[in-house]
Amino acid sequence: MNSRIFGIMRKEFIHIIRDPRTLIIVLAIPLIMLFLYGYALTLDVKNLSTVVYDQDKSSLSREFISKFSSCGYFRVIRYLESNSEIKEILDRNQAKLVINIPINFSKDIVSGKPPKVQTILDGVNSNTAAIALSYINAIVNDFREELLEGRLKVENIDPEIMQPIKYKPRIWYNETLRSINFLVPGIIVLILMVLSVLLTSMTIVGEREKGTMESLVVSPLKTYELAIGKLFPYVLIALMDIILVIAVGSFWFKVPVKGNVILLFFLSTLFLFCALGIGFFISIIARSGTEAFLIANILTMLPSVLLSGFVFPIKSMPPFVQFITHFIPAKYFLTIIRGIFLKGIGIKYLWPESVALLVFAFLIFGAGALRFKKTIE
């Protein structure tokens, strides 16, 4: 028996090595993806292109504008000369924010009458706009406070009275709110998922398509021997990928690993079995390579991006969809990997997710074993 499994493994290894493209793909792609996306994918809002229509042109209005340009979130790229330019510049996508300062801005402030500033925001990208909005509010409130301070001195009022609530926000785990710390663990999950499914989804259907399944059928191989032999090489490759991406994530991108690396590695392996199992299962039920690819795309990769909490918060989804996310292994693994990376929590808090992955792995391999027959249709 052992020698039979070994034979299949060897055959698979030879397949992999003989097709150097596959080998390059499985080793280089994860790294390229991690580097590319680690740098490119960011939800941070900075240098948002901003135009200003300053009708007042006073030192106060300039001070107001400089609040925007000096915070780093906004970059003033142009000053407008007329109202009619506003629409065109937004329509043309040349700026995302317009600050419109009325003509009596500074006079009104001095006389104690509130001037009406208008900020027009391009809402097409709702997320960027929501973040920008909170920055705008913070800047405007800051400016208000400064004006207030001056006023209080004039009126001779104790500034403490103006601050009835002293509010201190404290950010835990990701103190600087770098989106990269949030996204890199997600990218790692994605890479492992995509790669494992891609690797295994062709194993069985490939044999079928090439007609070599027939020669396997007549061999004395048992079904489970074939399955183990076929999957083992990919397990090894994927394990290497795990080490690779975790190392790059923490050493290169400086995503803090606050928790236990050994635990992370173990739970990654657990996830790996889920992903390989899915690919294997697809390979069994698909009748052609194209079909396998499409099923893999629709059933695994998209949900892993969308339903796992990679970028889209699960809590914002409709209840029915939230229910579906319970069947997505990437969701559990993402909680695990972020928990270990950023929060530094251990198995004490992560055991529900770990059990879920374990159950999923058993179910998917069980389902595969049931459907898998060493037969030709």
Partner: protein
């Protein structure tokens, strides 16, 4: 010549139609994707799980907490008894925000001394944390204003001195900041690209893999006839998919459609060209379907992630921004969103149309000029 071409197209269509399962996947896939994206791909931040640790437990502190509830963004369903429990809740991921009010909150407000309030935010999801932080600042600001109003009323003042500046925020194109309006046009673009690329690449490579290319070689069919015959069914299918997706997006998800539908459908064709070129190109450099798939992925993944589908291109490093210039989807997304949400016409879209034309022309030229009715 047209008869031969017609026959090839007929053969290809029969092949596609005969495989029912495949057909089902092709037609239903995009619709499923659209529904998933429409309902799932929301970056809206709401239902933030929140705990309240209120040591003061007075009318004032409860008022403060009520303003969190009333904002509609926070779901308060945890009332921890100790700071340790707060930590445990955040650690286990059960809550994202904890509002901690110390003893003496109400007393300090009465005295006119700043009353400290601590808000803990789980920053591991930076995006949610930033937006939630914005909401919280707004809520605190509102509370402060209320208290000040009371205070100044007692003094007989009419203002609180804080209304020294009025900021009227207007959000254009997507006033409610619904992320579905941002996502749906994007998914239509991706569906078009994915389908046409894969279908075209597979149609050609299949012939080679099954060994039926040899039979085609001995027929009088010309290379270009074969090529056109091969790509017509993918184009038709992808186009039908796009129209289906458009209908679902507008009628079901109520994404506003401000622009010209004919312009959009015309520009869809323009976008098909580079995708098609890429599909044919992939069929060149791959020998098996398996390889073609992997190669397709090499192009698809970056296109979707770097094309501005979710992540804004403006925020990417300069070098990667440069790479995005070669991604056709990048331009098409601007066009789609421009027509959908902004309702702009050709005049404003031109700067994104000509790069598509150039990219499409170049890709089609490279791939077609290499297409031969050959075995290897």
């Amino acid at each position: 010549m047209f008869k031969r071409l017609f026959n090839i197209i007929k053969k290809e269509f029969i092949q596609v139609l005969r495989d029912r399962r495949m057909l089902f996947i092709i037609i239903s896939g995009p619709i499923i994707q659209l529904f998933i994206f429409g309902y799932v791909a929301t970056t809206d931040v709401k239902h933030i799980t929140t705990a309240v640790y209120d040591l003061d437990n007075t009318k004032q502190s409860r008022q403060f907490i009520a303003s969190f509830k009333n904002s509609g963004y926070f779901d308060i369903d945890h009332y921890p008894k100790s700071i340790l429990e707060v930590k445990r809740l955040i650690d286990s991921g059960k809550i994202k925000v904890s509002v901690n009010i110390d003893k003496g909150y109400a007393g300090k407000i009465k005295l006119g001394v700043p009353a400290p309030v601590q808000v803990l935010i789980d920053g591991s999801d930076s995006n949610t944390a930033i937006i939630a932080g914005g909401y919280i600042s707004g809520i605190v600001w509102g509370n402060q204003t209320d208290i000040l109003k009371e205070r100044f009323n007692k003094l007989g003042w009419e203002t609180t001195l804080r209304e020294n500046l009025e900021n009227e925020v207007r959000v254009w194109y997507n006033p409610e900041l619904k992320s579905v309006d941002f996502m749906i046009p994007g998914i239509i673009g991706s569906i078009l690209m994915i389908n046409i690329m894969i279908l075209a690449a597979m149609a050609i490579i299949k012939e080679r893999e099954y060994g039926t290319m040899e039979q085609l070689i001995v027929t009088p069919i010309r290379s270009y006839e074969l090529l056109i015959g091969k790509i017509v069914p993918p184009i038709v299918i992808a186009y039908i998919d796009a129209i289906l997706a458009l209908i679902v997006g507008v009628l079901w998800f109520r994404v506003p459609f401000m622009g010209n539908i004919l312009l959009l459908l015309t520009l869809c064709i323009l976008f098909l060209i580079p995708s098609l070129g890429l599909g044919i190109f992939i069929s060149h450099i791959s020998r098996t379907q398996h390889q073609a798939m992997m190669t397709a992925f090499l192009f698809l993944f970056p296109s979707i992630l770097l094309g501005g589908f979710i992540f804004p291109i403006e925020n990417m490093p300069k070098i990667i921004q440069f790479i995005t210039y070669f991604i056709p989807l990048r331009y098409f997304l601007v066009i789609l969103r421009g027509i959908f949400l902004k309702g702009v016409g050709l005049k404003y879209l031109w700067s994104d149309i000509w790069p598509l034309l150039i990219l499409g022309g170049a890709m089609l030229f490279i791939s077609v000029s290499r297409f031969r009715k050959k075995l290897t």
